[in-house]
């Protein structure tokens, strides 16, 4: 099922791979012009090339979401290319796994700065432009681990959990504040999605499935396209009364 994004411009961070790439491809396919931002420019360019093959409109932008000057430059590039921005997907993020005793400050900062501060940085840069366009919508990438600590076989990640718990509340606070500019703000909380997000982890392996199948209610691992569909819905006018919400796309992980 598709949603209509014709005539809009979407700005997607972390658009060079995984869930962010699936979101960029879907929004472009549904009519949006897409600014594909990624810390790896070549990855963003690969997404843009795929969108171009589908006769969509997109530009690639190098963006480290931790740096305000980068975010402002990226916004200006999007405005220059497409004239306006209506939608923002704060998708850029990373995960590291370290026990508290081994977790150094640099790794804590890397995770918090990328996953949480990055959303503040990019949203601050983009929200005025979305307001200028007459309003729009933002979707922040959360996770089921904003709600529960998944004890994934002895790989603790307090920094990742804390960052995504912050995203949950950031989403509510931005929804309240940005309602004055006619901007809706929601979060999507994926469960296990088959991407290369987890370093060294393959969610399609039999070992991973043996663990996950005990928790999931839907008989498969999620695909990036599952998340992209939910993001597309929340960005569309069909979700015009939804703001401040977090939608799990988790195959029922959080249900029991």
């Amino acid at each position: 099922m598709s949603f209509d994004h014709a005539g809009t411009t979407a700005f997607v961070t972390g658009g060079g791979s995984g869930i962010g790439q699936a979101i960029a491809l879907r929004l472009a396919h549904e009519g949006a012009a897409v600014a594909v931002a990624d810390v790896r420019l070549d990855a963003a360019e690969a997404t843009v090339a795929e969108i171009s093959r589908d006769e969509g409109r997109a530009i690639a932008i190098e963006l480290d979401v931790r740096v305000p000057a980068h975010a402002e430059a990226a916004r200006n590039a999007a405005l220059e290319a497409f004239g306006a921005v209506h939608s923002l997907v704060n998708n850029a993020g990373l995960v590291r796994m370290s026990a508290l005793d081994d977790l150094d400050e640099d790794e804590w900062d890397l995770v918090l700065d990328t996953n949480l501060k990055g959303m503040y940085v990019v949203t601050k840069a983009l929200a005025p432009a979305i307001g200028d366009a007459g309003g729009g919508a933002i979707v922040n990438m959360s996770t089921i681990e904003a709600e529960v600590v998944v004890s994934s076989a002895g790989h603790p990640q307090v920094h990742y959990n804390a960052s995504k718990g912050g995203v949950r509340m950031l989403t509510k606070a931005l929804a309240v504040e940005l309602s004055h500019r006619r901007i809706r703000v929601n979060a999507v909380a994926p469960g296990p999605i088959a991407t290369s997000f987890i370093p060294g982890g393959d969610l399609r392996s039999p070992e991973a499935w043996a663990f996950m199948s005990q928790r999931l209610l839907v008989d498969r691992v999620g695909e990036p396209e599952d998340v992209a569909a939910a993001v597309s819905f929340l960005l569309s006018d069909e979700a015009s009364f939804i703001t401040g919400a977090q939608l799990p796309v988790d195959g029922g992980w959080l249900t029991r």
Partner: protein, 267 residues
């Protein structure tokens, strides 16, 4: 056409959210079966959507089975169930009557369970989807609404319990939680709010939603659009959860909003 070849049963389909959902689903290619107590609005929706009306009272234990049988007889399959029938009878912890408590729980909670139970074999065959219309009242309470709040909280638990059982069968189940919606039920509540204040319906809705970030009630079509999403393949990995459709009301401590600089007031 995003629901082509799908057959959907929508309870409480004669008015409000149910009628809007039937209209939207039909416009997306679905064949709709609407159920409800009052024949007149039900037949109007059925006629407008080219669907089937099955009048009856959800409190009647035989109703759900009759509805599902009618859908299968007429169209040969059943893909989507929207459990939307609901009543909002008042009553506080001190004065709710047994009758009002029983009716509210029977319609809102037991009725939804019976409809899902009756539909489950057909939904299993179709790898279908269930959407129950709960409310933000399933999470937060309002005054003199003990039965309604209990029933809507019950529907959230019911949805999760259904999802645990139905997921392995390939049937998804989710709940929608609207805030105020401009329906007959909403209008009735607003009439109570406006009573004695000589205010209009619009003024009452404005007052009731003054602290909601989007500063208005939802239109039924906006809730229907969410039911469409949850029922569709766009939500194929969304299961056992609740989707708020509340204009941001649940995100905010409503008692604090008047202190917000950006707040424009109910005026």
């Amino acid at each position: 056409m995003r629901l082509e070849d799908k057959v959907a049963v929508i309870s409480g389909g004669g008015t409000g959210i149910g009628a809007a959902t039937a209209t939207l689903f039909a416009s997306e290619g679905a064949t709709v079966v609407v159920t409800g107590r009052r024949e007149e609005p039900l037949h109007a929706v059925a006629e407008a959507t080219g669907g089937l009306a099955v009048a009856g009272d959800v409190v009647d234990p035989a109703h759900a089975g009759a509805v599902v049988a009618a859908a299968i007889d007429a169209f040969g399959r059943l893909d989507i169930v929207v459990g939307n029938a609901g009543v909002g009878l008042g009553g506080s912890a001190a004065d709710v009557t047994d009758d009002d408590w029983r009716t509210t729980l029977d319609v809102n909670l037991t009725g939804a369970m019976r409809l899902v139970r009756a539909a489950m074999p057909a939904l299993t065959e179709a790898k279908g989807s269930i959407v129950l219309v709960s409310s933000i009242s399933g999470f937060v309470a309002s005054s003199s609404s003990v039965a309604y709040v209990a029933s809507k909280a019950g529907m959230i638990g019911l949805t999760k319990a259904i999802a645990v059982d139905s997921g392995p069968l390939g049937v998804r189940a989710n709940a929608l939680c609207p805030g105020w919606v401009r329906t007959q039920m909403g209008d009735d509540a607003m009439a109570d709010l406006a009573h004695g204040q000589e205010s209009t319906l619009d003024e009452a809705y404005a007052r009731a939603t003054a602290l909601v970030p989007l500063r208005r009630a939802a239109e039924p079509s906006e809730v229907a659009a969410c039911a469409l999403f949850l029922a569709s393949d766009a939500a194929s990995y969304v299961h056992g959860t609740t989707l708020l459709v509340d204009g941001g009301g649940m995100a905010v401590d409503v008692a604090s909003v008047a202190f917000d600089d950006g707040w424009e007031g109910a005026s």
